[in-house]
Symmetry: none
Subunit: 213 residues, 4 copies
């Protein structure tokens, strides 16, 4: 991935740094190996979750030696984090639609997330991401950015303010955190989120649904 490497300032481990580095003798990092490792990680993460993902499994799946993994990623957390950054584990950001009606859009957005959480491997994925966040600060930060404080969500809120559907002084970031945080809490406690409970959650953070008939 030569092209986008340059414009990303905070590079995760495992990201190609050739462009930035001065000329150096010798062979260059094998792109094939890098990609194979990331793909193997994604695959095994999806299959087994974070805890049961093993470096040896990744190495075997990728057809790569363990040492090659450890050469570029210092730990399992860093590897998974890098995978996440590349959008290989998790849709990089769920885009919030814009139909003109905020509440409707948020419901659609949450439904998409819940559709993921609803399937067994989706729940595993999310819980695994949480586990990974616990071990690795980077992953946590990215999870936060991908969901709670995502640009997509904030932008939708800004439109809503312009529309008058949201108060001008609404706490955009905190509303996002509250919604996503509640979902995470439910994921942790294996509490299912029914459609009703989603509506109630939106009631809580947006105020009660108005003019419902």
């Amino acid at each position: 991935m030569p092209e986008q490497a340059a414009d990303v300032s905070e590079q995760a481990p495992g990201v190609d740094e050739r462009a930035a580095s001065a000329h150096r003798q010798g062979p260059v990092r094998s792109e094939a190996a890098r990609v194979a490792v990331l793909e193997a990680t994604s695959k095994l993460f999806a299959e087994r979750g974070y805890e049961r993902l093993t470096m040896e499994g990744v190495a075997a799946e990728a057809g790569v030696s363990k040492q090659t993994i450890y050469r570029w990623w210092p730990s399992k957390g860093a590897l998974v984090s890098d995978c996440l950054l590349q959008g290989q584990l998790f849709p990089n950001r769920f885009t919030v639609p814009n139909s003109g009606e905020l509440r409707h859009d948020l419901t659609a957005w949450l439904s998409a997330i819940l559709a993921l959480l609803g399937q067994p491997q989706g729940e595993l994925l999310v819980r695994s991401l949480i586990a990974a966040s616990v071990e690795n600060a980077d992953i946590g930060r990215r999870l936060h950015e991908s969901l709670g404080a995502s640009r997509s969500l904030t932008e939708r809120f800004e439109i809503a303010i312009a529309d008058g559907q949201l108060a001008a002084d609404a706490r955009l970031e905190e509303i996002g955190e509250a919604i996503v945080g509640a979902l995470l809490l439910r994921a942790l406690s294996r509490t299912e989120s029914s459609d009703d409970s989603i509506q109630r959650l939106l009631d809580a953070v947006l105020g009660p649904a108005q003019a419902k008939g």
Copy 2:
């Protein structure tokens, strides 16, 4: 877990079941061992977190054999979960004060939680609980109960409704989840919660602070 566990519906693993059981031959479960295990677990959990807590460490610290632990608790997760239930890891419920002013009381309550999160070992503790929740559904459920959906919080909300400080149709449970979920998300991403951000969070779920001035 021994045979008499089956007929006891609500008991967590590790809870002393002597009272419930009928007459039986042989020595009875050693209370000293049970307590020693729980205390050792608390201590080591606080020191090292969930991941780096080892059953061997617990056994050694408690002066107990590993088998004695496994006889009564089926797994590490169950042991930690039990500890949590006993309130040995985590203040069982942060009681929400009642001064008459809801927002003030929630601020105080959140401050208490944040005081815990602020110290380094408090953060470790919370993240470890999250990690434990990932592995063990019971722990997740209890974490949920202790915090988001805690009786203490709900009761305080009910008082607020009676007082007129909260709308009668407010989504009590969801408000709690939203608040705690947001904190959890921040804990995962190592984002500090300033006093300001707490206020903004309360703004988001309770509506903006009224008549401030």
Copy 3:
């Protein structure tokens, strides 16, 4: 091997020490595992030699976990040494025959040793023992005892002195060392020992063959 353990003073690692130890709770070392490990070691040593013998191979062959090996033997050298002591690698002592004629007996004895050295796996065995001796002092000592300074050889010399076939002040131990050392040197340099060269070696240490015709 309970019976002979008691009378061996200098116990090697891996030797059963139950008799000597005080009463202790808990399970006792698994005899089956011990034997399986030693047999696997012998087999693999014979097949692959010392250098290419691996602990993982031994564990797999013995159907034992690596940890069980490391629990009882601190290193590969110690394990092989123990095997040697048990006579599992190498006939514990080549007994020197006694036909009345010393030179004839020594020739027979050397022939037996050379027969072993002559076959490819015999050479490997001996060179591997040498390699093992380099790494592990115990093995060296036992190799020395089994061959150069072996009781069997010394006893045969003593008979020869009584018979008048050897001078009363002959340096028994050194003669043994000289013979075995010469063989060793040849093994190291891959020099074959012809029958002739054996005779010349005996000439060198016993004096020239008398009255040959």
Copy 4:
């Protein structure tokens, strides 16, 4: 080893072969690199012994790439063997002095060898050479030549025969082998050779010291 090695019968790997080669384009083997590798090998061999000598260590110490080593020497054994041949590891041959009295000269010669064996790093050196001989036939052969069957020793014996100090039919080569072999055997078993034991060894192979008083 490059292609022109085939036509050179006696050359060891790593020996400079420029003179023998035909016209060829491109740069020629770097003498500096060759010398640096050999010196690094000597140094590390002395410090750590054969087993713990690593090619990577040699490359680093010599300031040379691994490939440069492997280009010229096919294996660790070959490299060490070459070092030995150059007399960099081991005095190429301990010359046997000639004072007119054979036994006296051999004692002096053995003392020199024992002086080396007596010091800890000398023992390591010898044991390492033995280990290297096990792995590499060339090294074994050279060890044999340098010591047991050394020209210097045989020549001294021939003088002794001329002097009448040794029987005309004495087995010169075997006597050398016996002496040196006994020393090796002792080195392997970590048995110290006292002055006395040296004399007894000479008694064994030369016949008892005559007219000692």
